[in-house]
């Protein structure tokens, strides 16, 4: 079953490279070395030798992967759905060639060290193709918008893009993420993964139990999700996307998946924002149940927030190793 269109979980592709196990590293390592050797070759003889090695490594890969990439690109440019009218303007052959070139450039750079297996290489190829197509679609959209700004036939994806372009990231939203900078990230990670160490390290700064700060982080991340999925401009696809990203972010912060699932469920439940500074009842109850706390009011959260920020600025937090 293909992955959901809204899922931003790392996509591994349908299978490993044909005829090879997915974790094989031999080809990609050789290709990367050959690309770098060719880039560094000094003089015609060295360049020619590097070229021959590059072909010896690259051509079998090209033979094996290119038909598959072409089919993938053809599927993208002819896909049903909101993108189709614009996709049809683009050529799968060109897209596949550009994706191949982009992948070679990626491998040649230092970032290419991240590509460790042949499965990574395949994922990079397909993502380079999709990213290139998104670039083209956006450029084409901009051109169309410039030519016909009153076009009423706007797809869901275009509305999403427009909404995205119109909204500006704000400092408040950034702050609500808690782990947005490295020290915050390590602090929250400590809070969720190593509660005892958190307690010991910060016992001179606060006498609160760590679970209260966990409740704060969970509630604020959940409230952020609640606000995003309930904005009038949010589409079903946009909501699923937001949930997927937040799920991945929560996992990175060290929040147990089962705990986050309960928070997410409460956050996306159809529920009006109570306003007047009151907490969202369903989310509040879910967080209190998870953390064994009794946070009832916005004032209580504000106090916790103040104290967690103070912890973040304390010498023990400044000494947090972030690697």
């Amino acid at each position: 079953m293909p992955p959901s269109a809204d899922d931003v979980t790392p996509q591994r592709g349908p299978a490993g490279t044909p005829g090879r196990p997915a974790g094989d590293t031999q080809d990609v390592v050789r290709l990367r070395a050959a690309l770098r050797a060719h880039a560094a070759a000094d003089g015609p003889a060295a360049e020619r030798a590097a070229r021959l090695e590059l072909e010896a490594v690259g051509d079998p890969l090209l033979d094996r992967l290119f038909p598959r990439l072409l089919r993938h690109c053809h599927g993208m440019v002819t896909s049903e759905g909101a993108f189709r009218p614009r996709n049809a303007l683009f050529d799968a052959d060109d897209l596949a060639i550009e994706a191949w070139e982009r992948t070679l450039r990626y491998l040649k750079e230092p970032s290419g060290d991240r590509v460790e297996t042949d499965q990574h290489l395949w994922n990079l190829l397909r993502c380079a193709a999709s990213n290139r197509l998104v670039d083209r679609l956006r450029r084409h959209s901009d051109e169309l918008a410039h030519q016909a700004p009153q076009d009423a036939d706007v797809s869901e994806e275009e509305r999403l893009e427009s909404a995205g372009a119109a909204a500006q990231p704000g400092p408040e939203r950034d702050a609500l993420l808690w782990g947005a900078d490295h020290r915050g990230w390590r602090l929250v990670e400590l809070l969720f993964r190593h509660e005892e160490r958190f307690h010991v390290r910060f016992r001179l700064v606060t006498d609160r139990h760590p679970r209260q700060f966990r409740a704060l982080v969970l509630y604020e991340l959940g409230a952020l999700l609640h606000r995003e999925v309930n904005t009038p401009a949010a589409t079903p696809a946009g909501r699923r996307q937001e949930c997927s990203l937040m799920r991945r972010y929560a996992a990175l912060l060290g929040i147990p998946p089962a705990d986050w699932a309960r928070v997410e469920q409460a956050a996306v439940a159809e529920e009006e924002d109570p306003g007047d500074g009151a907490l969202i009842p369903g989310l509040r109850d879910a967080v209190n149940a998870l953390c064994d706390t009794s946070v009832r009011t916005r004032t209580g959260l504000t106090t916790l927030r103040y104290e967690l920020k103070r912890i973040l600025k304390s010498p023990p937090a400044r000494a947090l190793e972030w690697k």
Partner: protein, 238 residues
């Protein structure tokens, strides 16, 4: 290490980071950077969503069953795009980057010396000299590496043009050559595809005449053979 000034805080993720994130091999730091940016920047979020939709469509197409005709057509197109002539290895031979060769693969221009086509049937009807019904007018063009194109004007009314191509090398199944003609003024152009057999030889015919339907080359003076394009480089002997 001084942990008070982590070097990558709040840096905007670049395309490499986004690709690594999407492809699933980003390290934790990169993933963190992309996620924070996506959660605070709706534009990046919508870009990730668009990528997800396209990748899902590509994966679905890839796993869908193919008919034999579709599989053959796909393989032929992939082969035409990815095949290339072998690398010349002699001293002083300039090399071409792999990416450039890939880009030009499938549109290999053979190194022919073109020139005016002087077959009498290509002249306007009134100006055309009488053609002996048994005479065969022919003209040949050669490439430095031994490939040859011959154009024959066959007797008849209207006369026919026969193009015979010999690339001098084995060709892959489905390989063909396209002969490009121009009137020399940059106004009129015509192309004649010639399918190749396994020995790299092929033959095609076209009618000549005053430009009505089904005619390849309207009869006019000044036609030149300006290019010979090997559209599938099986003849290159890969």
């Amino acid at each position: 290490m001084d942990v008070t000034t982590p070097p990558t805080d709040h840096t905007v993720p670049g395309e490499d980071d986004v690709l690594a994130f999407l492809a699933g091999f980003a390290d934790a730091d990169t993933e963190h950077r992309v996620l924070v940016a996506a959660l605070t920047d709706p534009a990046l979020r919508s870009r990730l969503a668009a990528n997800g939709a396209l990748l899902a469509a590509g994966d679905a197409a890839e796993s869908a069953p193919l008919s034999s005709e579709e599989a053959i057509a796909l393989a032929a197109r992939a082969a035409a795009l990815r095949r290339r002539p072998p690398t010349p290895t002699g001293p002083g031979v300039p090399t071409i980057p792999l990416a450039d060769r890939l880009r030009s693969a499938g549109r290999r221009i053979l190194d022919f010396v073109g020139g005016p086509v002087t077959l009498p049937g290509l002249a306007p009807a009134l100006a055309a000299p009488p053609v002996d019904s048994v005479a065969l007018h022919r003209q040949a063009f050669d490439s430095p590496d031994g490939a040859r194109v011959e154009l024959h004007q066959l007797p008849g009314d209207p006369p026919r043009l026969r193009a015979i191509v010999d690339t001098g090398r084995p060709a892959a199944s489905g390989a063909f050559v396209t002969l490009h003609f121009s009137d020399g003024e940059g106004g009129a152009q015509a192309a004649l595809p010639v399918a190749l057999n396994e020995q790299g030889r092929g033959l095609a015919e076209a009618m000549l005449g005053p430009g009505s339907d089904g005619l390849l080359l309207p009869a006019r003076e000044g036609w030149q053979l300006v290019g010979v394009e090997l559209s599938e480089s099986g003849a290159g002997g890969d």
